[in-house]
Symmetry: D2
Subunit: 307 residues, 4 copies
């Protein structure tokens, strides 16, 4: 197995990749941008790719969404939730008093603002392209400290001076493992499905129509994002994550409904939820209910309404 990921080494994305069971012993190839990692997968240079999807400290969310929705098709086969936990990395021997400069990706600094103001109030912040690059700069002696995951310390020969220094507890970044289009993994009972629905013309009320397809079948959405498609004003797509698996009858019928009402829909995968949340299946929407209803319809069409 060869995995592509958004590098460089030492990023949260690499940590997410390393948490995958199949990643142990696999080849792990860092790419400089999300599109580069995905193209490597599309060109068959790797077998899978791991990129951030939601709430990333590395800021790659809109790029990932747009690439998956509009680039050559790929498919999500699993997801990884990684707690956001920043550490202050320094060269061995550096103490708090020595920290005059702190480097990080611009998205990391605001997340540690309060801690920095309290513990290294006089340190100046310096921007880096990624937190891993910031760690490299510290290792190179350009800056005194870097904000990064503690897992990055060993990779760059640095030490953890302080841990868990981010201001908001319980932040989580969501990553996805991508493959080339394939049959989805088998349902687990705690599945999520992702689609991108395209609204071709200015179609007010399209969102309500779409949501109704899910609502009448008792399917909860867990994420929704509207994005312009770049094909002119009023041309939108909705990225939607929802509970259930494409093999579930209620999900299948909702997807067919979606297919019928929007200009286009791209299936982006059914996969086990990282948080293992089991959906509450509403009365009348179990697979057995769909089977029973289909049998009843057949009976009345044939003139035998009461079996």
């Amino acid at each position: 197995m060869r995995y592509a990921y958004l590098g460089p080494q030492g990023t949260f994305t690499e940590a997410a990749l390393r948490s995958l069971p199949d990643a142990a012993g696999a080849e792990q190839l860092p790419y400089a941008t999300v599109p580069a990692a995905l193209d490597a997968l599309r060109r068959d240079e790797v077998d899978a790719a791991v990129v951030a999807l939601e709430n990333s400290v590395e800021g790659s969310v809109p790029t990932t969404l747009d690439e998956l929705a509009m680039g050559d098709p790929l498919q999500i086969v699993s997801e990884i939730h990684l707690p956001v936990s920043f550490a202050l990395l320094v060269r061995p021997g550096t103490g708090f008093a020595d920290v005059k400069t702190v480097a990080s990706h611009p998205h990391a600094q605001p997340q540690c603002r309060r801690w920095l103001a309290e513990h290294v109030p006089d340190a100046e912040w310096r921007a880096a392209t990624s937190n891993a690059e910031a760690a490299q700069h510290v290792a190179d002696g350009h800056y005194d400290a870097a904000l990064a995951g503690s897992f990055a310390a060993a990779r760059y020969g640095l030490e953890v001076l302080a841990e868990d220094i981010h201001d908001v507890a319980d932040a989580v970044t969501r990553f996805v493992e991508l493959r080339r289009p394939c049959a989805p993994p088998a349902p687990t009972g705690t599945d999520r499905t992702t689609v991108a629905a395209f609204i071709g013309e200015d179609h007010p009320g399209a969102l309500l129509e779409i949501l109704n397809e899910f609502a009448i079948r008792g399917i909860n959405l867990t994420l929704i994002q509207s994005r312009p498609t770049g094909a002119g004003l009023g041309s939108y797509l909705f990225w939607m994550d929802f509970e259930g698996h494409v093999e579930d009858a209620r999900v299948g019928e909702a997807l067919m409904g979606l297919r019928r009402v929007v200009a286009d829909v791209r299936f982006l995968g059914s996969y086990s939820r990282a948080d293992q949340v089991r959906p509450e299946i509403r009365r009348g929407t179990h697979d057995a209910d769909f089977t029973e209803a289909a049998a009843w319809l057949t009976a009345i069409r044939q003139g035998h309404p009461e079996p």
Copy 2:
């Protein structure tokens, strides 16, 4: 063929029955009440029955709805629209000045109120069980005139003294032809389907849920009536007529949805509309759209999203 109908002879219901192509030469049996006519059909004493469903001058609507929704199953196979047109029937030789009493079903009198006040202002009104019975009373010499359809004149040896005397133009009564449960007549493109949906417990929002099953598939309702089922407070049924035929994909899926969300549903027939109104089929709800969406679902479930 033997037909049951709500009698006696000379009612609008008999006129409706006579308008059926198959009724010519068939045996036509009047029954005193709607339940009696339907029971005759259930017991195989007749092959079909004709009763009023909507807006009847004979007042049988709630009885018909409740009998069809809750009695032993029967099925609508065709409908008849009959313009409501009252005539003033008298014994031969009677003139306006001779009319001192006018008899009719209590529902007929209000529909001719203004005309009666203008043309026979001094006549007193007398109630009869049906307009046909009123005609019989006139023939028997008990009253001077009867409000009834002009077709009843010949039957009772009466004359039409005035025609089209009802106050509201364009009123129509809707009758249905019933059979024992059977395969529905083939779709004509201008079909109507009737169901009764039962709401078992106090289920606020049930109606909205039901309507959404139709709305998301672009199916228009043409009649809706809530009726208590007699099984306790909060136990309701909705009688619903809507556009389309049970063979239509959009109707089939809506019916299955209905079946899944309500306590029970009874299919009451798909049949050609008397008014020949062709439904506008919304984008994405043609049979071909359902077929295409099902093929797409199969493809993505098998891992071939782009055929």
Copy 3:
């Protein structure tokens, strides 16, 4: 006080009228038809009128709905629920073996069918314009027994041979007390409101639009009936009863919404429910929630979003 009601004396409607606290000692005037009773009220000949609205054994429902929705305006100020309970009335001295004919309104016979088949299997049924008229016919010696409320016995010098002979238990007829348009009675906390909403042109989806106005404010419908208006095909009205009082903020806003989305709406009254059912008021729809939201809106319009 003078009350009009659908006569003759001895009907369920008279029994409903007599159950009103204000009816004791008031003048009670029977009218031959529902429109006649309502016109008497419109012309100021009486101060109030009592007519059946729902599930009547006397069959007057469609007439009542249409008269109130489309005739000169009247307003519901209270409602009465009367259990449907039939008795077999006979002349004193008549025994079961003597009953060869049973008379009633055509709607009453089906409701007692099973009992009649069991207890007087050989008796023939005769139609009457009302159950009270049937009782009069029995008193006059034309028939042997009448189906009617037991309260009618005394009025016609008859005896109750058997009581509670209707087949379905717990049937209830709903009557309403009408006045000329007036300020509604004060809210009681267990109120119902009635309106007629007119759909002017063929406006598919109108019903869903209407129901949404109620649903988003957590208001449950207790009755809905579509009725043709007589103004041409596709011109409908919806008669709707729902929980709450016009003085309630959620009801007021829903009514304004209704007013805005339909061709016309007629307010038919807010009044205490006969069954005293207290509505569950959904989170966010109490009067206080509307007041708070209005204060917030004022604040943000003025530039003081956080008070």
Copy 4:
């Protein structure tokens, strides 16, 4: 006037700021991160701030949304649409053949991928914290070329070697001008309103409930994004942009409805749309319709239903 913006000088954000009429002659202060720019406004160090909201090549969107929705309140008073147009900036005298390295923000490189592969196929890409920083690196001689807006050339003493080199035409970035909370600018007829709605507990169906508040009043959404609030699983907010101004009656009532149904809602501003699109106002939702409906409600509450 003092303006904060996301720096450094030469970014698209600075170009957006410069397009504001009031910016001419105003003090313009670059900040290293979006939170830093917004905090400067909150602390009164500046009078306004300009940041990217949507589809930014600088990748700041999630940060901006979260800061505005959850940080100390600020308010949008205008928006700016800037066409995305990249140029290749070089030191004077550099030709295509001399370009061995190209630097840019990681989000810029994918947008120019095809052009780069065609015109400078052998150049290696280098990441920078911003395109402006990349330009500075070129000016310093570290790299040969930078991807940036052509407006950045003069600022860094560079030349435009090629213009309009991005692969997707018509891409637009949307920026907003922020102030401390204030009375919104007067309606223009082509307004947009922005809110953040908080869903406190796991409340499936919340989104549908919210959308219905807008839909029944004919208000179209132009952007929707769900975002976790960081307050635990299932705690979400919806960032929503929609047509209309808080002073419009339909918008006011929808906002009050939103206020009542969600855990909390933050008003983020009503302001003129940069694209000047005028909304279609649905039948029944003009200000005059709300005024008429309110007058009607008052009349029926007082007992004068027909004025």
